[in-house]
């Protein structure tokens, strides 16, 4: 997973509410069995027209936005389908952080698992930040270590869950961490299943008895 400590780069505003994962990563790009080749799928139907030509009016297609690292988004960004491809596509495209007010819950978990930073700011702070952008675009610095966010005209701090912050900064192996509790999991499982024998049947048995 990616590490995130401190990063500066262009930010693009996409203020519409409820931008869902179908829009972020359309279904045509979900037919793989690996994680590759998803950069082209990111916002595909917004970026390209029916003939595959770039839509010049879409913000990420602007010349000054070629190296976009951050998005400033509207409420409930990433709602909808659980497809992690949406997050993989973001990172492959080069987006490293998304700043908004609320996010789809599964999208947020997926982001955390891949090192994509999601920042939830209070609506007033978000509006202030958006107002500093020129025509929906600008440069921004996010310092996760110091929990600071800065543009040319704005500087402020943000709150973030500390476990998430640590994971983003260190890039932890989550499965490996959980497996350090193997004995606790086994002990729990044994007692739990013993107390609820009707759960013992698995998918492999026709009927538990």
């Amino acid at each position: 997973m990616e590490h995130f400590v401190r990063l500066s780069g262009p930010v693009a505003a996409m203020p519409a509410a409820n931008i869902d994962t179908d829009v972020i990563m359309p279904k045509t790009f979900l037919k793989g069995i690996d994680r590759l080749g998803l950069a082209v799928g990111l916002f595909h139907d917004l970026r390209f027209d029916e003939n595959g030509a770039l839509r010049p009016e879409f913000i990420l297609n602007r010349r000054d936005m070629a190296e976009t690292r951050f998005l400033l988004v509207g409420p409930n960004f990433g709602c909808g389908s659980s497809r992690e491809h949406a997050v993989w596509g973001m990172l492959q495209y080069g987006i490293r952080g998304i700043i908004g007010s609320s996010f789809g819950a599964i999208f947020a978990d997926n982001a955390a698992n891949n090192g994509l930073l999601l920042l939830s700011l209070p609506p007033a702070q978000l509006a202030e930040l958006a107002a500093c952008l020129d025509d929906g675009a600008g440069q921004i610095t996010v310092d996760l270590e110091a929990q600071r966010i800065e543009t040319g005209a704005y500087a402020g701090s943000f709150d973030i869950d500390q476990a998430l912050r640590r994971a983003l900064m260190l890039g932890l192996d989550r499965i490996g961490e959980t497996l350090t509790y193997t004995d606790r999991i086994r002990a729990f499982e044994k007692a739990y299943l013993a107390g609820k024998p009707w759960l013992m049947g698995g998918h492999g048995d026709e009927r538990v008895s």
Binding site: A17, N18, L30, C79, E84, I185, H203
Partner: protein
């Protein structure tokens, strides 16, 4: 005496292996034991590749089931293929993973194949008090059984397979109490669409939502599944209902249900699966079922819906915060403000999806279609929620009613719910649909979706336009 608890907190507490926090309460970070999962061919491949790369094995392979549902064709002639290369590869990889890791797979030709959230309950694999996490957002469906069900992404599928656990953050709780009774012609789908319309697409964001009240108690288990399924469209991470005798009756007799003896024992515990009378919820919402009308969506977010008797909204008349989204939605949907919803003509009609393709849904739609014909120019299709539902419907002769009305009687799968297969809308085509999401492009690039109940889809199909099911007398 311990403090009163919500049903959600009781189930989470039962599955908490350890807590990473001192504090507890909403926001607590904990290691949660997961009872079961269901895997599909499109969100699981990279999880299995991850296991292979790390040399890990599933913790408890018998707690997982794999089903092919998203990418397959629903063409009646399934045996002839109708798959693109990507779909073929994903289906083959699911089987390979099942074989290599000892996980049972229902492939395309299995008589139990179907949409994952239809297959799991009908097999009897969903039991009250469980925690079920799966790689699909509509895993909230299982809440109808008193189960904490929620969707996860592929990295978490890998974590779950490898450890039988998830690192979990306890949610806030919300209760939606629905008093009264649904009027004739009004269904669970209309109820949940009204809840979503009222609280908004992120109204339950960050919450586990418990549905309660006499209107919920009066519903059958399949109707309750419709509500819990679609609760994710208002941001609910978990939907829950206290299990009752109807739930036990539903489970009893399912092929994988516990034996009668075990069911007897289990029931004693299942009866305690309800929120304590004085339990506190972080949010409370009340509504009356009495005045809920048949609903249809007009926009591109599930909260953009109205009574069928209403007119397309005028963005100018909406609160400023909702205006820009409404303008955009109307442009995409090709609709003018103030058009009566019942004047909107359709090109397609679709009954299917994990929201509304169970036997009771098919019966509801058939009662409207009996003795009627699909309007000229409308292409109508039904894809039963599982191969099992399809056979059960055929045993009742329901397939004849659909076919005689002019519907295509398809095989089972996600089909036109997300169009990751050969069922999709052409640009500009307008569809009356029993599915759950009207997002831009959801049913095909440029396709226009109107969400509604299966009976309302049937009414639209025979009318050639969105129609009020209550004005069509049920043929007998």
């Amino acid at each position: 005496m311990s403090a009163p608890k919500t049903l959600y907190d009781k189930i989470v507490d039962e599955h908490r292996i350890l807590s990473f926090d001192e504090a507890g309460g909403a926001g607590e970070r904990l290691l949660l034991y997961i009872d079961r999962t269901v895997l599909n061919e499109y969100t699981s491949p990279q999880a299995f590749s991850g296991l292979r790369d790390a040399g890990r094995k599933p913790w408890r392979p018998e707690a997982s089931l794999g089903v092919v549902d998203h990418v397959n064709s629903t063409n009646p002639d399934r045996e002839a293929g109708h798959l693109d290369d990507g779909a073929r590869r994903q289906i083959a990889y699911l089987s390979e993973n099942g074989r290599d890791f000892g996980i049972e797979i229902f492939d395309l030709f299995d008589s139990r194949q179907g949409i994952e959230h239809v297959v799991m309950p009908e097999l009897g694999l969903v039991l009250p008090g469980m925690v079920i996490a799966a790689g699909d957002s509509h895993s909230t469906t299982y809440g109808a059984f008193g189960v904490v069900g929620f969707g996860i992404g592929t990295s978490d599928i890998e974590h779950l397979l490898a450890t039988q656990t998830l690192v979990y953050r306890r949610l806030k709780t919300m209760r939606v109490t629905v008093d009264g009774r649904l009027a004739p012609g009004v269904t669970a789908k209309d109820l949940i669409m009204e809840v979503i319309r009222r609280i908004g697409a992120d109204g339950a964001s960050g919450h586990a939502v418990e549905f309660a009240g006499e209107a919920i108690d009066a519903l059958g288990v399949e109707a309750r599944m419709t509500i819990c399924n679609m609760a994710v469209e208002c941001g609910a991470r978990v939907a829950l209902m206290a299990p009752d005798d109807k739930v036990v009756d539903y489970i009893d007799g399912c092929p994988r249900a516990p034996s009668a003896d075990l069911l007897e024992r289990a029931q004693i515990e299942w009866r305690t699966l309800r929120s304590d009378p004085d339990a506190r919820f972080d949010k409370d919402v009340w509504l009356s079922a009495d005045d809920i009308p048949p609903m249809v969506s007009w926009g591109t977010s599930p909260d953009q819906s109205l009574a069928i008797t209403d007119v397309v909204p005028d963005p100018e008349a909406l609160p400023p915060a909702r205006r820009a989204d409404a303008v955009r939605a109307l442009a995409y949907m090709g609709l003018a403000p103030n058009t009566p919803l019942q004047e909107i003509t359709i090109d397609r009609a679709f009954i299917g999806s994990c929201t509304n393709a169970r036997l009771s849904d098919i019966r509801d739609a058939a009662s409207i279609l009996k003795g009627r014909k699909v309007a000229p120019g409308v292409r109508a299709m039904i894809s039963p929620g599982s191969s099992g539902v399809r056979s059960a419907a055929e045993a009742e002769g329901l397939d004849r009613i659909f076919i005689e009305a002019g519907f295509e009687w398809r095989r089972s799968g996600c089909s036109l719910c997300l169009a990751m297969n050969d069922d999709s809308l052409a640009p500009g085509e307008r569809c009356a649909s029993s599915t759950n999401r009207n997002f831009e492009g959801r049913q095909g690039v440029g396709g226009r979706t109107h969400l509604m109940s299966p009976a309302m889809v049937a009414a639209a199909a025979v009318s050639g336009r969105l129609a009020d099911v209550r004005t069509l007398a049920v043929a007998s």
